[in-house]
């Protein structure tokens, strides 16, 4: 079962900037009935662990939890074996299990998976119903681990304990408790890091990993983009933890610092400036003079290479203004990318942003930038006032864009290409080019014959 004390501890995580203005002990609020939107804790846990392609992810619950969530994320993997991330596994419990408990079914499912799929490990996710019924998932996993001789990790993040963020933290707990430190790496280098919180969506990581390789930074393990369970077990031997745009995993890093004395830094790989900055932060933290010199040299080279490729786009985008309406770290990370392309970001949304995100947004947009607290009602006015040419927002805002006859990009839609690292900027530039040139936004709202 999930312990209340554990949840409380995670809710009160001191490193979480949601908590800045709150009284001690208050932490993140429990959801108000009717007001909680977005994924549950289980969803968050799954997002954080699912990219381990060599493991099977078994959802112990009824149909809703997995039915709509498998094969929905573009978290790419280079794993040469059978890629389990594009598959869905669920015990799909029935009334019988609710009455008599689902442990037997879970046990039989684990045996089936080991026999037919021979994964490196199995993650078992509890969900609302199996947590409520009181299935002893810990015991079943422990016994099965002994019987099958592979790590079988219970993940206690049933949806009703909270939202995605909390779930992601609980996933971190599970990894810390059951995997990290259970295996020694074959060899180590002074430049070993763990990447935390990049899930390699559309291959984001592959945009910057080649740079790491050129410079000589070694990724010992990843939580969890293109990750392997075998590697995360050795994570305790890394010299540095690097969190990529994922505040929810700060707790994990803080605990690893306490336990294994591994320092951590938080970076982002969106846009040119952020990518350069991120890599310099990493090499500086590793603190090796030759590594730092090498990084500087390579980054300078890569940057000038990129600048050259960006030139035609910059010409094309000169004088263009954008309004950005999206949540969390995207509010500034995409802004940074747009600015790298020479587009002026005149406004961004800070609805539901943390203090850190708001500060960053202010930093990136400058004094004249508008930080919208209620973007849904503000953005139309801002577009008029500032004479913006493009709106980057979620699908619900499309109507605003076509009414204003300006271009639109749905930033929340599942992307197929990555905007990360240096090269991702070129992908973003391409998408922007098509958006600016597409006449559809002006054409679609022509008045109907019966309106003129």
């Amino acid at each position: 079962m999930v312990s209340r004390a554990k949840i409380k501890e995670l809710m009160n995580e001191s490193a979480c900037s949601h908590n800045k203005d709150k009284k001690k002990g208050e932490g993140c609020d429990m959801p108000k009935p009717g007001m909680a939107a977005g994924g549950c804790a289980f969803d968050g846990a799954q997002i954080s662990l699912f990219p381990y392609a060599d493991a099977v992810h078994l959802v112990h619950g009824p149909q809703t939890c997995l039915g709509a969530s498998w094969e929905t994320r573009e978290t790419l993997s280079s794993y040469a074996g059978r890629n389990h991330t594009v598959m869905g596994f669920t015990t799909g419990i029935t009334t019988n299990d609710v009455i008599f408990g689902g442990d037997k079914r879970l046990d039989a499912s684990l045996a089936y998976i080991v026999e037919h799929y021979a994964p490196e490990a199995i993650f078992v996710y509890s969900t609302c119903v199996t947590a409520m019924v009181g299935d002893d998932i810990d015991m079943t996993c422990k016994l099965a681990q002994k019987a099958h001789n592979i790590p079988i990790v219970p993940v206690h993040a049933p949806g009703f304990v909270g939202g995605k963020n909390l779930g992601s933290r609980l996933a971190g707990e599970a990894v810390l408790e059951h995997l990290i430190g259970t295996k020694e790496p074959e060899f180590t280098t002074p430049y070993d890091i763990n990447l935390i919180g990049d899930y390699n969506v559309t291959g984001d990581m592959w945009q910057y990993l080649p740079l790491f390789e050129k410079i000589g930074i070694r990724v010992l393990s990843s939580m969890s983009g293109d990750g392997r369970v075998g590697d995360i077990r050795t994570a305790h031997r890394a010299k540095l933890n690097v969190i990529v745009c994922a505040k929810s995993l700060v707790t994990l890093c803080r605990k690893m610092q306490e336990r294994y004395d591994i320092p951590w830094i938080s970076v982002s790989f969106y846009g040119k400036r952020d990518t350069t900055f991120a890599i310099m932060e990493i090499v500086n933290a590793l603190g090796d003079a030759t590594l730092i010199a090498k990084a500087k040299e390579i980054l300078a080279e890569e940057e000038s290479f990129l600048e050259e490729k960006l030139l035609p786009y910059k010409e094309m985008f000169a004088g263009k203004k954008a309004v950005l309406n999206t949540g969390g770290n995207k509010a500034w990370s995409i802004a940074s990318g747009l600015q790298d392309l020479g587009i002026e970001v005149v406004a961004t949304s800070i609805r539901k942003s943390t203090e850190d995100d708001i500060q960053k947004a202010r930093e990136y947009l400058g004094e004249n930038g508008i930080l919208m607290r209620a973007p849904a009602s503000e953005q139309a006015k801002v577009i008029d006032e500032k004479g913006a040419h493009i709106l980057l927002a979620g699908g619900r805002s499309l109507y605003t864009a076509i009414k204003k006859k300006i271009s639109f990009i749905d930033v929340n839609q599942e992307k197929k290409v990555s905007y990360g690292g240096y090269n991702g900027l070129l992908n973003l530039a391409e998408d922007l080019k098509y958006a600016f040139n597409n006449p559809v936004f002006a054409n679609v709202c022509a008045p109907a014959p019966w309106e003129v």
């Binding site: 909680a36 549950c40 039915g67 799909g92 019924v133």
Partner: protein
């Protein structure tokens, strides 16, 4: 690879599902409520279930989805029997957005709140807006039953009992697989045959891919709650799909004099001939010109497509009510249905004539795919077929289809839709057979 023989049974044949095709009851219920005008669909459970449901339909239909939830947490789960979270949710939602004027609260449960044993019925006494509750645990049934139960609950809880009959008033009860455009076509057909037609649920003006402002707050379905209240004087109720039979029976409880017509599906010549003949007889009318024209087109399409389809074998996966129609249509032009893999058990599956038919998942389906020329399945089959050495064609039907656009306008019903369907299948087979 030899495919494993699995028997048709309501009992599972293995302890887990791998690459599931089954969807949950709450998801079906939520969709049904979206077919009611100004309904506020409210899922009673933790936030995640509603979020997943929203994602599924948003990506399937490319439309904003009006769906709320009661945000049950582990704390409220312990002290609250449902009253608190349901009533607070309604208050919070309507207070936050005062322009929201729901005409119905469509409350449906989830596995969690069923396990807790919440009494969602009695909460209704305290709700001032018309209220409909449905028990839809996701450890029972599936999407098809969730939709059907909701339809039945709407009738049982909201339709007045009645003794009179209004001649030529017709109620259509479509199953969950029938897409928005298909409901529109069905209504249009009945109207053209002289009936005043109502569909319950009616998605024809909801999720139908229509550009307008401020979508996604309340359901924009085509039937209003007062209309549901007054369905009791219909002359005929037409249930389409085995899952909808009990909803039709619920309406008969309201008025014994209503005539019930049942059709397992409306695909292919025979089913539609029966449908049209029954309605013509009831209305004492002759067919309208376009109906005759479409029947002729379907006959022609059957002959055009018979060679390609008649020399091919098929695997169909999905909800039972969808599978039965597709199979009969394919078989009517000589297609060999090699296997049907259904999401859940339904008695209608016993009526399908196929070499293999059982309840399962895509792990089970995989070995059957290898022996088929064409697979009809949801988008999850796409990746599996890509990894397969043998080329097998694919026609996407059923939930979810995250990849293709325009799912709401796919039309497989009546003479007209069946014609399009045959051509789509035959054209896919042509690509496969003549161009590898």
């Amino acid at each position: 690879m030899e495919a494993k023989k699995i028997k048709l049974s309501s009992q599972e044949h293995k302890p887990l599902q791998i690459n599931p095709i089954k969807h949950s009851q709450p998801m079906g219920a939520a969709l049904a409520f979206m077919g009611i005008k100004n309904c506020l669909p409210l899922m009673h459970g933790s936030q995640g279930c509603a979020s997943y449901t929203k994602v599924l339909y948003t990506r399937h239909y490319n439309e904003p989805i009006p769906l709320y939830n009661t945000s049950v947490s582990d704390i409220t789960a312990v002290f609250d029997g449902g009253d608190f979270s349901i009533l607070m949710a309604i208050e919070n939602i309507t207070k936050k957005n005062t322009t929201l004027k729901p005409e119905l609260i469509g409350l449906h449960t989830t596995g969690l709140t069923e396990t807790k044993g919440d009494d969602v019925r009695s909460v209704g006494i305290h709700v001032e807006i018309p209220y409909c509750y449905v028990n839809t645990p996701d450890f029972e049934g599936g999407m098809e039953s969730g939709w059907a139960l909701t339809c039945k609950a709407l009738i049982l809880q909201h339709t007045f009992t009645c003794k009179d009959i209004k001649p030529k008033k017709l109620v259509l009860l479509p199953n969950v697989n029938i897409q928005p455009i298909e409901i529109e076509k069905l209504k249009e057909c009945c109207t053209n045959l002289g009936f005043e037609t109502f569909a319950l649920p009616d998605l024809s003006t909801s999720l139908d891919g229509y550009l307008s402002e401020g979508q996604g707050k309340l359901a924009t379905g085509g039937i209003a709650i007062e209309e549901i209240a007054n369905l009791g004087d219909a002359q005929i109720v037409v249930s389409i799909g085995r899952s909808m039979k009990s909803a039709a029976e619920a309406l008969l409880q309201k008025n014994e004099a209503i005539e019930h017509l049942h059709f397992n599906h409306l695909m292919g010549l025979e089913a539609n001939d029966n449908f049209v003949a029954s309605l013509m007889k009831m209305a004492q009318v002759t067919p309208y010109p376009l109906l005759k024209r479409w029947r002729g087109r379907l006959q022609d399409a059957m002959l055009d497509a018979h060679f390609l389809i008649g020399s091919s074998s098929f695997v169909v996966t999905g909800e039972p009510d969808m599978c039965v129609g597709i199979c009969e249509l394919l078989q009517s032009v000589g297609g060999t249905v090699y296997a049907v893999i259904a999401t859940v058990y339904s008695p209608v599956l016993e009526e399908i004539k196929a070499e293999n038919i059982f309840v399962g998942d895509l792990e089970d389906a995989k070995s059957y795919f290898q022996n088929a020329d064409l697979v009809i399945s949801n988008f999850h089959a796409e990746r599996i077929l890509h990894m397969q050495e043998k080329h097998t064609a694919l026609v996407l039907r059923g939930f979810p289809n995250y990849e293709e656009l325009g799912n709401q306008l796919k039309n497989d019903q009546l003479y007209e839709g069946s014609t399009y369907f045959l051509f789509e299948v035959a054209n896919k087979l042509r690509e496969l057979k003549y161009h590898g």
